[in-house]
């Protein structure tokens, strides 16, 4: 069997980068599926594109500027109403620093 395009260890590493958790079974299946997809994508290696400019924007455009004028943004309470937890006019999150008592 040819070397896999992506190993189980790589799958677990990428999952960590993407802030996803995978069960053992999910990781095994993900490895198989990504391996098949990446194997198909090897077809791109038939093309020599080293001299071709990449297309990051399909339609050429300039970054537009607008006048720097203050305007109203959405209402804070309405925005916070969609948060899973809020407190004192802000988003409530789990502690990220230790508290010294």
């Amino acid at each position: 069997m040819a070397d896999p395009k992506i190993t189980l260890e790589q799958v677990l590493h990428v999952a960590k980068l993407a802030r996803l958790t995978l069960s053992d079974e999910e990781a095994r299946q993900m490895q198989e599926q990504l391996d098949a997809i990446l194997g198909y994508m090897e077809g791109l290696d038939d093309l020599d594109v080293s001299e071709v400019t990449p297309t990051f924007h399909s339609i050429p455009m300039d970054a537009p500027l607008r006048p720097d004028v203050p305007e109203r943004c959405s209402d804070r309470s309405e925005t916070l109403a969609q948060a899973p937890a809020s407190e004192a006019g802000g988003y409530a999150v789990p502690l990220v620093l230790e508290v010294n008592s």
């Binding site: 999952a15 958790t21 993900m30 599926q33 990449p54 969609q82 988003y91």
Partner: protein
């Protein structure tokens, strides 16, 4: 109400404006049909009974007061559930946004409201618009109204099935790699993917930002063209929105195709395995020629690489865009022992399998050591695909291919093999990668009675050509009055 539910948006607006029917009565009739058929079709994730009737009453009040009515006054419209609607749940068919209520309207939703349209509700989709069959919705599978065991296509499957089934004359979808065109082909309706930048993406939940566009869907080319006229135009809240005048899309439908050079991608059409699709394309080409168009052969030699290029670029952009769903600012939160565990728990619980797969693929393609080999290479090959079209448009005004390699496949047929599902997008991906406007319109029925779609692609901002040419295809097919048979 005569003609219900198949009357056009134009007929509805005319009758409402003339006062021969009230917008409230029209809305009640469509709401009743949507509520009756939704258990079978699963087109809608939310039916906004109250909001729709309030909007209709507003139209009736304006008419009674003698005020000017908008171009879609009293016309019911279904809106894909990845377009933000103020005060109405917007889920993206994902558990992670299951209860999200946006505090603002998308630009296109504002435009609809301003035109007098009545928003009936929010339509089902593949989670975050990632899929080609609607089977990636976290909530329900949409069924194709032409054959209930068939996929409606995706990701705008709910919008396509609702329009085809007469639950609404018009719908909005979004298209990243074919998500309005492919379901339109599967459900026998017309859909337009505008030029990148033609329609504002403000309030469209982002999947792949360099590809996403909002697209109109309708049973006829004229209605889709009218809807495009309503939603197109510059919006400073989307930095990629083009400062271009909106075209006269509806008027373009009556321009004819005399002298129009239609580029035929011969090798793609001859390579089709499905005889029905091949025959349908040939009959559409014959209809175009008969109405005065000139057929010329063109080639898209790099189109065969579109699946690889698209599934690297779109997933890379998605992995970045979907990083915002972390359980902090909106949507689901599954608390962990610390912040990192809260992120991972929330995302593991909130995202379905296909969304996770795409985030994984995109994260991999962007990760250290692989960026050049995958992401950058894909962007280089994208240039070759774009150049293929540049060369084709030296010889023709519009490029013609089928929309899909086959008519609607069966529900469950491709769910176990993601790559198989991706390969079904082969014809819709190249114009998306090149940012070009494209339309799918029905060109025939298969032997089994399923619709087949024809795709036409034009140079940037030349949507008018698509409207003229597709109108000729529609006139030639004679399918406009043919409706799905699998429904009461």
């Amino acid at each position: 109400m005569s003609g219900f539910p198949w009357q056009s948006a134009f007929e509805i607006r005319e009758r409402v404006a003339a006062g021969s029917v009230s917008a409230v009565d029209v809305t009640r009739a469509y709401l009743a049909r949507a509520e009756a058929l939704n258990p079978t079709l699963a087109c809608f994730l939310t039916i906004d009974h109250e909001g729709a009737l309030a909007a209709a009453a507003q139209v009736d009040r304006k008419r009674a007061a003698g005020e000017a009515l908008g171009p879609l006054a009293g016309v019911p419209v279904a809106v894909k559930d990845n377009l933000c609607t103020r005060g109405v749940r917007t889920t993206c068919a994902s558990k992670i946004l299951g209860e999200y209520i946006p505090p603002y309207d998308a630009h296109v939703v504002e435009a609809l409201r301003a035109s007098g349209a009545v928003l009936l509700g929010k339509t089902n989709l593949d989670e975050f618009a990632m899929g080609s069959s609607n089977e990636n919705s976290a909530f329900a599978h949409v069924h194709n109204p032409w054959a209930l065991d068939r996929a409606p296509g995706g990701s705008s499957g709910g919008s396509a099935a609702a329009t085809a089934a007469g639950l609404a004359p018009l719908a909005l979808g979004s298209d990243t790699g074919g998500s309005v065109r492919q379901p339109a082909a599967f459900c026998g309706i017309t859909a337009i993917k505008p030029t990148y930048g033609r329609v504002s993406r403000y309030g469209l939940v982002a999947f792949a930002s360099s590809l996403d566009q909002v697209g109109p869907m309708a049973r006829s080319v004229r209605e889709a063209s009218q809807l495009l006229e309503v939603v197109a135009g510059h919006d400073r809240r989307d930095a990629t929105s083009a400062e271009r005048d909106t075209g006269n899309y509806l008027a373009a439908c009556d321009r004819g195709v005399k002298g129009l050079r239609v580029g035929v991608v011969r090798d793609l059409i001859e390579g089709l395995q499905d005889a029905d699709v091949r025959a349908s394309v040939e009959s559409a080409l014959a209809a175009l020629e008969q109405q005065g168009a000139i057929l010329v052969d063109v080639a898209l030699p790099h189109a065969q690489h579109a699946v690889s290029v698209y599934y690297l670029i779109a997933t890379a952009e998605a992995s970045s865009n979907l990083a915002r769903f972390d359980g902090i600012r909106y949507g689901l939160r599954v608390q962990g022992k610390d912040l990192t565990e809260t992120y991972t728990n929330t995302r593991a619980e909130g995202f379905g399998p296909e969304v996770r797969r795409r985030i994984m693929l995109g994260t991999y393609a962007l990760s250290a050591g692989y960026y050049d080999a995958f992401y950058l290479k894909a962007q280089r090959v994208r240039t070759l695909i774009r150049r293929d079209y540049d060369a084709a448009f030296e010889r023709c005004d519009v490029v013609c291919t089928p929309t899909t390699p086959t008519p609607a496949f069966a529900l469950g047929e491709k769910t176990s093999d993601p790559l198989e599902m991706y390969l079904a997008d082969i014809f819709t991906l190249p114009p998306s990668l090149a940012g070009l406007p494209a339309i799918s319109t029905p060109s025939g029925l298969s032997a089994g009675g399923l619709p087949v779609g024809l795709q036409l692609v034009a140079p940037p901002f030349e949507e008018e050509i698509l409207c003229s040419a597709s109108q000729a295809v529609e006139d030639g097919s004679g399918l406009l009055s043919t409706h799905p048979t699998a429904l009461p």
